[in-house]
Symmetry: C2
């Protein structure tokens, strides 16, 4: 009965959009955006290789934030069938960013937003048409995976008579971004609206998202993972919000030096914590945020004094703008906040590459 | 047992924040932002008075979008205890905007975001501290109610020794905004981030939110409700997205003229539909949106030709910006989109008032 209903709905689907659909299964496309190619298909790292990582970090890195698929096609529609392990998420997130996907199509030199795949509420299996009724011009398509849910399966539906050519290396330059929930993407509205993803589309640099919400505390095991990254052009350390002031003093130099042993000359950009909007009135939060940034800055100065000429630091001033409106919950950027962060962080990255 | 636990938790709460809390119950404060004062406390209209409204419209108007509480206090904290009828919402919304609340504090002439009340996931009863550890200066506080859930109870917790003075009429000028889900606030990140709420804080004009998601179709019963509004300085009709092209042609003149019988000289601002980002690639959506706007514009021109000198129209061009990134799902503005709408709609409102 269910199967019959599926056939009827499937047929209806094909008729409604005027095109038969075929589905490309997960073996037909490459998942890009990883720090290395090993490990399960839809996770950011190989949890077996890095089994010593703190459990909370491993859990976060199982979410495919920043991972994407890139293909060439002349399809008039993109339908997505996918499954997530999680069916819920935090109240400062929406379902589309947490469990859904985000589609861009390239026009000229620009990636243009085309549509989202809305997840089915409270169900693991979802099916959604991201774009339809487009002309059949040959274009590059870019689909960002969800930010806050493990993906267990993914099929891309296109016109049965359309071309499909998987692409294996989309972006130039390799930037590894280690950070907190802000890097991870809370509270972006879609998975392509994190600041690393926006800068990626703007610049064509690949920004590998290693945001681990709530758990970016510069543990040695994390430095061990980062040091393995190959062909890195820039490391970004945006991990101040999660570490206590004491942890920042204790761990920052050790963390940077551990990476340096394997990447002696690679530029490293340290970014201070955004000034949380809740800290404007809450003087305890205010003291904490400023203490975190001050200690991070002190560590930066000591590392510079020791001769690290490829170390850079970005001050937090106005990262979220000046009107206190750049977050969803007082800590996590909304899309307004992320767009303001991009306006400051992107030029800082470009300046580092232009100086080389 | 529950009572004992409550006492223990309550005591702990007071100790943690260093201040005893007292709760102001709903009789202690005025719910502002309504088109008229009658009806249930937390709904936008009186459903008994307007029983002939379409069911879907009544349902939406039971959500307190745009309603707010305004009080003077020297409290160092604001804790909120509240209940919502709904516990879920659409995947293009987060829990904070749908079921939570949003706090601003006035500094000088400016309303500054101070914190949110996060709803408890999957529960009707919530309790959250919106701000704490502030100094005890006397300030104006503004709390926006949720956008997408009926509120059944609300208590405001402040320091036991703090002053509390309910305010009854916050904003000047009365602007009644009738519209679709975009006016209603999908997909704002917080209830204070709808475009009417942002303009309200920026200008001190009261923008009464009559956004009725999916159901803004200019029915006679809605015009009947609008005509009853007293002392209105401006009507905004931002209802194009929900009405079919045919409905726009059939209903617009009738709708405007029905309001005009009771408000012969009040300025009316008609706003074209935002160009939905999904319509950039989907040529059926594209044709529909442009047809809706074209027909709305035609009706505007005919009304103008009939001599309505107080009728204005705002074209849709670039309401969401020019990069196609201003929405969460291809239709509903994210905070970036709302901030861009404000940049265009606010000056249009100010121009109307300045010309008077």
């Amino acid at each position: 009965m269910k199967f019959v209903l599926f056939i009827i709905l499937f047929g209806l689907n094909a008729v409604l959009f005027g095109q038969e659909i075929i589905y490309k299964t997960q073996d037909s496309f490459t998942i890009q955006g990883k720090v290395s190619e090993n490990g399960p298909r839809f996770t950011r790292i190989d949890p077996l290789k890095y089994s010593r990582l703190p459990q909370a970090v491993k859990k976060r890195l199982a979410y495919p934030a920043g991972l994407f698929v890139h293909f060439l096609s002349n399809t008039t529609q993109v339908n997505l069938q996918w499954s997530t392990k999680e069916i819920s998420h935090g109240v400062n997130m929406n379902g589309i960013m947490a469990r859904g996907m985000d589609l861009y199509i390239k026009e000229g030199n620009q990636w243009i937003f085309a549509g989202v795949a809305r997840p089915t509420d409270q169900k693991q299996v979802s099916n959604f048409t991201m774009v339809k009724n487009r002309d059949n011009s040959l274009r590059e398509f870019l689909i960002y995976l969800p930010l806050w849910a493990e993906v267990t399966d993914m099929k891309i539906g296109i016109d049965a008579n359309a071309s499909f050519q998987d692409q294996k290396r989309l972006f130039k330059k390799k930037v590894v971004v280690y950070g907190s929930s802000i890097v991870h993407g809370a509270s972006a509205s879609r998975s392509g609206m994190t600041y690393p993803a926006i800068i990626e589309r703007n610049t064509n640099y690949q920004l590998i998202n290693l945001g681990v919400s709530g758990s970016a505390k510069m543990e040695t095991e994390v430095a061990d993972m980062l040091k393995d990254a190959q062909d890195v052009d820039l490391f970004i350390l945006d991990c101040v919000p999660n570490a206590s002031p004491e942890e920042i003093t204790e761990r920052t130099q050790h963390f940077v030096k551990h990476i340096r042993r394997f990447h002696p000359k690679t530029p490293i950009l340290m970014i201070e914590s955004t000034i949380r909007p809740i800290s404007l009135f809450d003087h305890e939060w205010n003291a904490r945020v400023h203490q975190q940034n001050e200690r991070f800055y002190n560590e930066y100065q000591q590392l510079k004094a020791q001769g690290d000429v490829n170390l850079h630091l970005l001050r937090a001033e106005n990262l979220l703008g000046s009107d206190n409106e750049g977050t969803t919950d007082g800590s996590h950027p909304n899309d307004l906040g992320f767009s303001r962060m991009v306006n400051i962080i992107q030029p800082a990255i470009e300046a580092i590459f232009n100086d080389e």
